[in-house]
Amino acid sequence: MIWTMTLAALDPLPPPPLTELATAIPPEELERLSPQALDQLPYGVIALDLDGRILRYNQAESRFARLDRAQVLGRTFFGEVAPCTATPEFQGRFQVLAATGAPGATVRFTYIFDFKFGAQLVDIELVRGRTQPWILVLVNRQRFMPQRENLPEGFAAPLQGELEPGAAGQGVQRQGRAVRVATLETSAFGALRAAFDASGPEGYRAFTEAWGFQWGRLAVVDLETEASEQLDATLRELPMQAVLERLGAWVERQGLGRLGGDFGPASQGLFLLNLERSAIAEGTGLSETPRCGLHEGLYRAVFSHLARKRLAVREVACAAQGHPRCTFAVVAEAREARLAEASAQADGDVSALVAAFAGGAGRG
């Protein structure tokens, strides 16, 4: 069904021109990206076959729409997932592009997505695939608004719970924004350590750091999505303390501990993160070496994204080593070696670490 009323009848749309999508990646390259790589983009990407069935749905779109990707893949976009787009303005353009568009042909327009939790003003770019028989829908959120009133029944997009009634009975747990979660006992971290101890202890830090880094790149999308939706701001614009609080809330939601910052040494080109009650440190048990590599990678991803350059994060004291809390030092990547040297000298004494770092090569 295509809704016959026009959007203008609901609410006036702002006039063109459109802003460019916030991507430096040309659509032809987007086509080649894996679903995992699409998940690291800060804007929505949906791939639809020429009948409008969902083939790909990236994490940013999933977060903004509050729908689980696993539950929307294979469904019809215009019929089941986004009935608010079954209009001449959206589906009509899609159908013309599907029927007559040359490979690479592009259509841009402004639209309003109607959800039951609010409306979103979006810039849409429809791109006819060059190498695949699909149409990419690129979605750049411009503004978040309250839910529009007097929408026809069935016009707004369904909530996650409406797409999967009875999920709770199938062992599915979800957080506030319909994000599926799995609850792990901290003994799982002990089991991870035991697996490395048995197969190659030296690989533990590199693996967990890399795992954390990949997870952190996805967390960035979560954090940027939240900031955009709640504050109409990007993280880079927010005060550092506010960013740290948001990151801390994210860490706490995962049950990983409580995060705080120490900016005292900032003039030395270094700042510290303190993690209280690290679930990983407590789960892995006493150790001679730091165990929270996952946090190192996580924070490296988040802060490097914000800095637009590579930063290095090192756990300089870990609760698993008997320290009262886990402490991480963040520096520019160029001074990573200097940090490692200072960390070795300080042997878990954070004040000594800061003094050693400051007394060494210093800034630059």
Partner: protein, 53 residues
């Protein structure tokens, strides 16, 4: 002084969005919030602070 996230987000910084003009953004921030004159690291815009590391 602690920074109100909500107040900050309504500052002229918004004008510099997409793409972010950081220099303009930071200038707007301090113009709008002169009481941040001490420029404590935690009160700096995250992008500016981390770029400066």
């Amino acid at each position: 002084m602690a920074t109100s996230v909500t107040e900050t987000a309504r500052s002229p910084i918004d004008l510099a969005r997409s793409p972010i003009d950081l220099a303009r953004s930071a200038a707007a921030f301090f113009e709008a919030f002169p009481w941040e004159g001490s420029r404590a690291p935690e009160a700096l815009p995250a992008g500016a602070f981390l770029e400066g590391l």
